[in-house]
Symmetry: C2
Subunit: 254 residues, 2 copies
């Protein structure tokens, strides 16, 4: 089976010129079929502020009203996405920038209004793996921005982590998929203050033991739970690592 690497990076990393250059150089070196999924980050908030648009947060989550969606579309799908594409082309990578609306690759449902109205936020409903596979067959390298659409003409702001894991799952029918989440540490550490204490591999069984003995705690628990869920749905392996260590990190597998 053909190998596909899907790399998810956060918005903060792609907003910084230096860390972006480093990431793209490492991404260009990844062999075989590949996809980059990038987050949004704070420049949307900064642009909104410049335009006098208030950012509303509820429980730490941004509310996407119509004005904020316009800003997110400009920053994520325009500024951030197209600069990554042009830079990857400069590095010889045949990148194509996309949102979930392009080629209808990721359709979502507008989140229902409950206690909170998140506005124009979409929860992923369906990934068109076949269409993405056709693009990959052209040796294109999709660069995906955190926006999807509802199929009725409406763009929706969408969580990039979820987009990456659902894309990975949908493509596992066609490829042997490795899904790599980049964060600030080189992987899961036995001792958070010691980067040499990296745990190279975690299985579902290991995970239970690490949670029980306190090795894994806090925000790392949901990260690994999500990774295990993706592995259960067919993704070959999920890697948690840093952007400057794409070939290393902690492998989450069955």
């Amino acid at each position: 089976m053909k190998k596909l690497t899907i790399i998810k990076v956060g918005g903060a990393l792609v907003e910084n010129e230096e860390s972006l250059a480093q990431l793209l150089s490492n991404f260009a070196a990844v062999e075989g079929y590949k996809i980059l999924v990038h987050g949004g980050g704070r420049s949307a908030t900064a642009l909104a502020a410049q335009l006098g648009i208030e950012t509303h947060m509820v429980n730490g989550r941004r509310i996407t009203d119509a004005e904020m969606l316009r800003v997110a579309t400009m920053v994520y799908a325009g500024l951030v996405n197209k600069n990554i594409v042009a830079k990857l082309q400069g590095l010889g990578v045949d990148a194509i920038g996309m949102t979930g609306a392009d080629l209808n690759i990721i359709r979502s449902d507008k989140r229902p209004v409950g206690e909170v109205d998140y506005g124009f936020v979409g929860d992923v409903k369906k990934v068109n793996g076949g269409k993405l596979a056709s693009l990959l067959d052209l040796r294109a390298v999709p660069v995906i921005a955190p926006l999807t659409h509802d199929g009725n003409g409406q763009l929706l702001n969408t969580n990039a982590d979820t987009m990456a894991s659902t894309v990975a799952t949908a493509l596992s029918t066609y490829f042997d998929v490795t899904l790599t989440y980049c964060f600030e540490k080189p992987g899961v550490l036995r001792n958070p203050d010691d980067e040499s204490s990296l745990i190279p591999q975690i299985t579902a069984e290991d995970f239970k033991a690490y949670v029980a003995d306190g090795t894994v705690s806090g925000g790392m628990i949901p990260k690994i739970e999500n990774a295990l869920a993706a592995v259960k749905q067919g993704v070959k392996r999920v890697v948690i690592t840093s952007a400057n260590n794409l070939t290393g990190g902690t492998v989450i597998t069955v």
Copy 2:
């Protein structure tokens, strides 16, 4: 030979909700392979003003400094392009939004600094017709924003009319291409005040006669000259019409 329709619309038209909806509905009805090329328009200038960025014009042409390029990238490739894509998907058209950087479809050279430094403006150098043809073979419908790249990581602001005609020329190897330029009138008129005086077809020979007798004058002369140039380079026919009359207008042919 397979038929391909390339439609170029100006920025003003896509900025207005009502005229955009009308255009997209007409575009959705076009049969066979198709591409939409859209201009930039005034919303970039408006956004720049909101952000306190001055718009510099020389001889009626916008100077694209680094700040203005950021704005153009956000507005053209983000806001305008992705809203068109989402709306076309809502109409059942499998649109994919692109700049010239995406899949390296249009490479340009930064315009040399002469008496005027236009800044980050690109003159089209090479269209990758084969790559666009592969996308069309997937039944994708490219929606192209007026930005290209230099192949070394730099995005460049580019004239949408030129992008449309060079794309049409490059694809005429693979398709029987009709290139349609939309403007405010239903085509070339014998009497500019009478829309029923449409001239349905103009050949190179007709054109000379119309210029000689004054039927065609002013800004229509370069429009038709450009159209004839495209036809000489292999484009089957160029149509000058309005957005609500995509199947009519004046056909420029040999």
